[in-house]
């Protein structure tokens, strides 16, 4: 039996290592959950290929991929930053994981940073996969739109994360699970991802425009199509991010 030296030698590892290891753990756990893979990859890719290939839906303009890919990208962003994060954080809270990590050398800001990094890494993977599938379907985005598209995605990810933590930090895990899935379906349907909003009456359209998913979809379609994103889109995303993150920070309960 090898010797075990228990004499105290306390100390915190460098924060970069702590946050990096925590983020890697979050990513591994996400990829290990089959249902989260379905949500983050299978559904977006199926929607993209399915709607593009089946001519059942009439899409605006001649370029089906130019309409579809930004919408599916927006859906992928929402699935990771909102739905996935709300559900996993809700269960981590109810299983006492957040409580236990709170007594570890990982500070709370470090945990939030690690979670954000994990979300960004998974988002990057989703964007690459959706982009490559889109390219195979004939999608040819305006490359000058890549940088503003990434900025829109980061901003929307912040807004969705705030909403996720607002739910996960206040509701029971089971309620978060149900609510996050329901909102995913509603926002996915209402966000103009696959069905153009022009189909809806004007009053409803105005309301739907204020949803973060709609703003992200509209913004991505504009910038990847070579136009600047409307100011309204940036404003809506910033508002959602500020409101949800502030509310989450005020209400989040770690246990």
């Amino acid at each position: 039996m090898s010797a075990l030296t228990l004499s105290p030698a306390p100390g915190r590892a460098p924060m970069s290592r702590i946050v990096g290891r925590q983020a890697a753990m979050e990513i591994r756990l996400t990829l290990r959950r089959g249902e989260s893979l379905v949500l983050t990859l299978v559904i977006p890719v199926l929607l993209l290929v399915g709607i593009d290939k089946l001519d059942a839906l009439r899409l605006p303009g001649g370029d089906r991929a130019a309409f579809l890919v930004p919408g599916v990208l927006a859906l992928a962003v929402m699935s990771t930053a909102f739905t996935g994060q709300a559900i996993s954080t809700g269960f981590e809270r109810s299983y006492g994981v957040l409580k236990r990590l709170g007594a570890s050398a990982l500070p709370r800001w470090g945990l939030l940073l690690a979670k954000s990094l994990a979300v960004l890494v998974i988002l990057a993977g989703q964007c690459v996969i959706v982009g490559v599938v889109g390219f195979a379907l004939g999608w040819r985005p305006d490359l000058r739109g890549i940088v503003p598209a990434l900025a829109l995605i980061a901003l929307a990810a912040a807004a969705f994360s705030g909403l996720a933590l607002l739910m996960a930090g206040t509701l029971r895990a089971e309620a978060t699970l149900a609510g996050a899935n329901l909102l995913y379906l509603l926002l996915g349907a209402a966000g103009g991802i696959a069905v153009p909003l022009t189909a809806a009456p004007a009053a409803i359209r105005t309301v739907l425009q204020w949803l973060p998913i709609t703003a992200l979809t509209d913004g991505l379609r504009a910038v990847l199509g070579g136009d600047p994103a409307p100011g309204r889109v940036w404003l809506i995303l910033v508002l959602w991010a500020v409101v949800t993150i502030t509310a989450a920070a005020r209400t989040f309960r770690w246990e």
Partner: protein, 311 residues
């Protein structure tokens, strides 16, 4: 004199109208084990969780390694090890992976191979947490608490759900921690655990300290009032003058329970046994048998906290 690793002074913790901890004081010096012993709902976990910085005291002061556990939380966490009563691990995380994660937060982590071997976690290293048995979960949780080589360890019911072998292994580890200079504050409702491990036992009930001392002090008859004192019985020739013995041993009730069977109830000590033997020799009476029985910590505990079943 070194400052205690944990100093709790007149701690009060309320949840709404309910007072969970009502004026508890205790100290855990480095290199000692202090056991908080009490029935369910006595306020053990609340006390420990205030020390861990999870909750703010409503009144009283708590210092952990000389610091305020709430205000200096981030400064303290690398120096303490925490074993929660349950949970605390991602259900999908593998046991070895979770231990490695927590160890990676530390500047000088324990030798994980040795720790894994000591707690017999090797065979389940690749098993997801949700598939571990209760005892395996407890052992992983203990390993996580120790991985960062802390100065102070909080163990909340560390052996609940463990099989006897795991309990022994855990006890051995706790003793080694003490020997290595680590301060340990543990909660338990197992008397034998407190008796085996603790330098100091603090018995709490209804949020108050109802008894404190070393296991020897608590079980020695001097501390008890009327009930549950020690017993000394011996067999010898019948008809010895017990009144004389009563004078020699004030504080004892002495009686010849049946011819040749003598029973003394009182503060049994080595000196009392010697007195009885000498007194018999004086009367040229051979002691055929002599038995002493002391209170166990369980007797003390039940005397102090009552024998009725708790809800």
């Amino acid at each position: 004199m070194t400052r205690p690793a944990v100093e709790v002074d007149s701690l009060v913790k309320r949840y709404g109208a309910r007072t969970a901890v009502d004026g508890v004081s205790l100290a855990v010096p480095p290199g000692t084990v202090v056991a908080l012993l009490g029935p369910n709902g006595a306020g053990k976990t609340s006390t420990v969780e205030v020390c861990e910085g999870y909750r703010r005291p409503d009144s009283g002061t708590v210092r952990v390694l000389g610091l305020d556990p709430v205000a200096a939380h981030d400064e303290l966490t690398p120096r303490i090890g925490v074993m929660l009563q349950s949970g605390g691990v991602y259900p999908g995380a593998r046991a070895g992976e979770m231990l490695a994660l927590v160890a990676s937060f530390a500047a000088n982590p324990l030798d994980l191979a040795a720790l894994t071997e000591r707690l017999a976690l090797g065979p389940v290293a690749n098993t997801p947490y949700r598939r571990l048995s209760g005892g395996e979960k407890q052992r992983l949780s203990l390993a996580m608490a120790l991985a960062g080589r802390p100065e102070l360890v909080f163990l909340d019911e560390p052996t609940a759900g463990m099989d006897p072998q795991s309990r022994r292994a855990t006890w051995d580890l706790v003793r080694e921690l003490r020997g290595s200079g680590v301060a340990v504050l543990l909660t338990t409702h197992f008397m034998d655990e407190a008796e085996q491990l603790a330098d100091q036992v603090v018995i709490i009930d209804g949020g108050r300290v109802v008894g404190a001392g070393s296991p020897a002090e608590l079980t020695s008859a001097q501390l008890s009032s009327t009930t549950g004192t020690g017993q000394l019985t011996f067999a010898s020739v019948p008809g010895l003058p017990v009144a004389d013995l009563r004078e020699l041993l004030p504080g004892f009730a002495v009686a010849e329970a049946s011819p040749g069977r003598y029973q003394l109830t009182g503060p049994v000590s080595p000196a009392a046994v010697a007195t009885v033997a000498a007194w018999c020799a004086e009367h040229n009476a051979l002691v055929a048998a002599l038995n002493t029985s002391q209170r166990t910590l369980e007797d003390v505990f039940l005397d102090l906290t009552g024998r009725e079943l708790r809800t």
